[in-house]
């Protein structure tokens, strides 16, 4: 057990005109998650500290935030990996509601804009639609997305222009564009060929580094760009 200092950017919409940093000292084990340290502050020092969390092991995507300046899930970073002084700030680019809680509605609106669901109007067979292991593998990486927004809010193109659809939405479009069972790749590619679509991506790789699911996002975006250019989803 040792004592670390958390410097947290606080904002309470009912009392504060602007956000300000506050320091907390808390005892942690090296194997504690950053989420555990935040919880200890909330539970035993300051109940007003506000953040989202649920599963606490990196699969629900609730607790994305900036930890020492980079987007991480607080439940997937251990204290031994962040040092004795840790700075915690909300994701950049969304309106802050309170402390680490940001307004996710624009993010989900972008997600919904890319038709993130299977479209196949042909009559389904009695049993499952067949898909080869290779065809299934084609989009495996992008099925891992948990919609935590760590990628989109690490993207300088998004910071510069909130209308940019953002890497998370492109990932979710990719998941269907390259699914052999889907029939609407063309419609999604048209959406992403828009001026706020994939071409805003400048291949900076921040999204790939930020992804807690280790999705190769920049690669996926590149594949979508290629599909638009060549008018084909063939490898």
């Amino acid at each position: 057990m040792k004592t670390v200092t958390l410097t947290i950017l606080r904002f309470n919409p009912e009392t504060d005109r602007e956000a300000a940093y506050r320091e907390y000292r808390v005892d942690v084990e090296p194997t504690d998650r950053v989420l555990d340290a935040l919880s200890k502050v909330k539970w035993y020092q300051d109940g007003t500290l506000t953040f989202r969390r649920s599963c606490a092991h990196g699969v629900c995507g609730s607790d994305a935030m900036r930890i020492n300046g980079v987007n991480r899930l607080a439940c997937k970073v251990l204290m031994r990996d962040v040092g004795d002084r840790v700075t915690i700030e909300p994701l950049m680019g969304f309106r802050v509601i309170k402390d680490m809680v940001v307004d996710m509605e624009p993010f989900f609106a972008q997600y919904r804009s890319v038709l993130p669901f299977m479209i196949n109007d042909s009559r389904p067979p009695q049993r499952e639609r067949l898909q080869s292991i290779a065809d299934r593998e084609r989009f495996d990486d992008t099925t891992k997305c948990i919609l935590c927004a760590a990628c989109t809010t690490s993207c300088p193109s998004f910071w510069a222009n909130e209308e940019f659809v953002g890497p998370a939405a492109i990932v979710n479009a990719h998941r269907f564009i390259f699914d052999s069972r889907d029939e609407a790749a063309g419609a999604r590619l048209d959406i992403l060929n828009d001026r706020e679509g994939v071409w805003r991506c400048r291949t900076i790789f921040n999204c790939t580094e930020a992804c807690p699911r280790e999705i190769r996002i920049t690669k996926a975006i590149g594949e979508v760009k290629k599909a638009i250019l060549y008018g084909s989803t063939a490898p």
């Binding site: 309470n12 919409p13 009912e14 009392t15 194997t31 998650r33 919880s39 909330k42 539970w43 035993y44 300051d46 109940g47 007003t48 506000t50 953040f51 969390r53 649920s54 599963c55 606490a56 092991h57 990196g58 699969v59 629900c60 995507g61 609730s62 997937k76 251990l78 509601i97 309170k98 809680v101 996710m104 989900f108 919904r112 993130p116 669901f117 299977m118 389904p124 009695q126 049993r127 499952e128 639609r129 067949l130 898909q131 080869s132 292991i133 299934r136 989009f139 495996d140 099925t143 891992k144 948990i146 919609l147 998941r175 269907f176 699914d179 069972r181 889907d182 280790e214």
Partner: protein, 580 residues
């Protein structure tokens, strides 16, 4: 400020059961449906399920729904209702195909069909040996189910109220269900949702124990609200401890590891399950394996004498682990610094799943009393409910199956019900009760934090109402829980604001957890036999003469808990000794 909304049907909870229900409701033209969820739906705990969902597709070898039914009945230690189990296993095949058609990216066989693997307690020829029945998408099957259902809700234009915490159930003066009260977490405002039918799909309550695979959000809200509104809770003494949680953290390591060939080893390196279950070994049902691990630990054969054993997958090879079990490999590397390709994983049993809950019939209609009286318009499906397909012990994969089968059935029956039902009147002052609760929680100026009370509850439940139970220990737990309920009256909420007050939310959730810890313990003390997950060291055997029946616990107006019973439905398979 109080807002009012009117719908035909409400679904409370955005996990697998809720979203499946909503998809079916959204297919009914003219029917107005909303989903109300405390989280963004994609954050629901269905997404944490890993290993698969069983259906007798027979894609890799012979299989039949009848075998699946037998395994489920046997797994339930004969407490499951066989009419419900038959429905679930028969509809499994169709519902899995439907999920595939909706877009679910299952892993595939060489010939392009849905891939299947063995899972605990699932057998061929009525117990002759393991069968490949679990349909999976790597080790994130729950994630893919949740995403696929959410995607289809978006496609169908379902109305969502995200981050709205339902805090009360509304019953009209004539006893019909007529809506819910929800608390908009962002604004702190109360919303009255007036409707013909309400479906509770709010999940479980693993957070009453200290070592759990459950999310922070799994605080049993729906179960506790129902109890408070006079609805009985069924079979609450039956709570599943999953054999393999990450040591100290409780994070789930899927049974799929053992399905792929992983084995459990004690401090001597012995594959000890061979002694406890000669036929199924590491793939015996979960209660059997969790007890075996606990016994090894208690008898000093935990690793280095500590409270864990090893789950060894090192012989499976990097390919199997990276391709079929990538997420659990990531968990082990992240939280333990252990690479399962090269080293065994330190595991201990972890509180995982509630077999008990709100009693329903096979159409998910909530029923009360020994004669199953229906509360018109009130439904429940998934872990929150007890349709009793799991009885005293659930088989792995059958929770995801329960969600999709009974999520669908609930949606279908609600749609049918809403077509003919009228809108019942709301009670007077529908928000009165929750406003009083919140006012009391916020008024306290001096008291203990919710976290302190919660930790004490979790510790005492872990010590005395866990895998092994006996009367005196459980009495200690019950006394402690009641002491904590008393201290909870002056729980201290430091955040007095309206906006996104998660301090108040956690305090309210703790009230639910304490009530459910009380009901669980009372039910467990009362059942003087051992069956499935309920293992009593002072009553070590199953007692079908006296205890082949469901427990129903109701909170009386005076606050006491009353216990009654109802019979088990037995159709095909008569109870017999349970050996794996």
């Amino acid at each position: 400020m109080i807002h009012t909304h009117t719908y035909d049907a409400l679904v409370v909870g955005g996990g697998g059961a809720g979203l499946m229900s909503a998809i079916y409701l959204s297919r009914e033209p003219g029917l107005r449906t909303a989903v109300i969820s405390k989280l963004y739906p994609t954050r629901s705990h269905t997404g944490a399920a890993q290993g698969g969902v069983c259906a007798a597709l027979g894609n890799l070898e012979e299989d039949h729904p009848e075998w699946h039914m037998f395994d489920t009945v046997k797994g339930s230690d004969y407490l499951g209702d066989q009419d419900s189990i038959e429905v679930m296993c028969n509809e499994a095949v169709d519902v899995i195909i439907e999920l595939e058609h909706m877009g679910l990216p299952f892993s595939r066989t060489e010939d392009g069909k849905i891939a299947q693997r063995p899972f605990g307690g699932h057998t061929h020829h009525f117990g002759q040996g393991p069968v490949r029945r679990s349909c999976y998408a790597a080790d994130r099957t729950g994630h893919m189910i949740l995403q696929t259902l959410y995607q289809n809700c978006i496609k169908n234009g379902v109305d969502f109220y995200d981050e709205f915490q339902v805090v009360d159930l509304l019953l009209s003066p004539d006893g019909r269900c007529c809506g819910v009260v929800a608390w908009h977490i962002d604004t702190g405002d109360l919303h009255v949702f007036h409707a013909k039918a309400v479906n509770f799909t709010t999940g479980g309550f693993g957070r009453i124990w200290s070592i759990t695979s459950n999310a922070h959000a799994n605080t049993g809200d729906g179960v506790a609200i129902a109890l408070r509104r006079g609805i009985p809770l069924e079979d609450m003494e039956f709570y599943q401890f999953h054999p393999t949680g990450i040591y100290k953290l409780g994070i789930l390591i899927t049974e799929g590891v053992r399905g792929e060939g992983g084995v459990l080893r004690n401090d001597h390196g012995e594959r000890f399950m061979e002694r406890y279950a000669p036929t199924m070994k590491d793939l015996a049902s979960r209660d059997v394996v969790a007890r075996a691990i606990s016994r090894e630990i208690r008898e000093g054969r935990g690793i280095n004498g500590k409270k864990y054993v090893y789950l060894d997958a090192t012989h499976l090879g990097a390919d199997v682990i990276e391709n079929k079990l990538p997420d659990i490999a990531d968990f082990c590397r992240t939280y333990l610094g252990v690479d399962p390709v090269r080293e065994p994983m330190p595991i201990q049993p972890t509180a995982h799943y509630a077999m008990g809950g709100i009693p329903t019939d096979i159409d998910c209609r909530v029923v009360t009393g020994p004669d199953n009286t229906v509360i018109p318009g009130f439904y429940a499906a998934g872990e929150v409910a007890c349709v009793s397909v799991h009885g005293a012990n659930r088989l792995g994969t059958n929770s995801l199956l329960d969600l999709v089968v009974f999520g669908r059935r609930s949606g279908l029956d609600m749609a049918r019900f809403c077509k003919t039902a009228d809108l019942p009147p709301l009670p007077e002052n529908p928000t009165e009760r929750i406003e009083a609760t919140f006012a009391r929680l916020l008024a306290t100026e001096k008291g203990e934090p919710a976290a302190k009370l919660r930790e004490e509850m979790q510790d005492v439940m872990q010590d005395h109402v866990g895998i092994f139970r006996e009367g005196p220990g459980m009495e200690i737990a019950l006394a402690k829980v009641r002491e904590l309920q008393e201290r909870y009256r002056s729980v201290l909420v430091l955040d007095k604001g309206k906006r996104f007050n998660t301090d108040l939310l956690e305090a309210w959730e703790l009230g639910n957890l304490l009530d459910l810890a009380e009901v669980t313990t009372v039910s467990a003390i009362n059942r003087t036999e051992s069956r499935g997950a309920h293992m009593r060291e002072d009553y070590e055997t199953r007692d079908d003469v006296n205890w082949l029946k469901h427990t129903l616990v109701t909170r009386s107006d005076e606050g006491a808990l009353d216990i009654t019973y109802k019979p088990v439905t037995i159709t095909r398979f008569q109870p017999k000794e349970r050996v794996y």
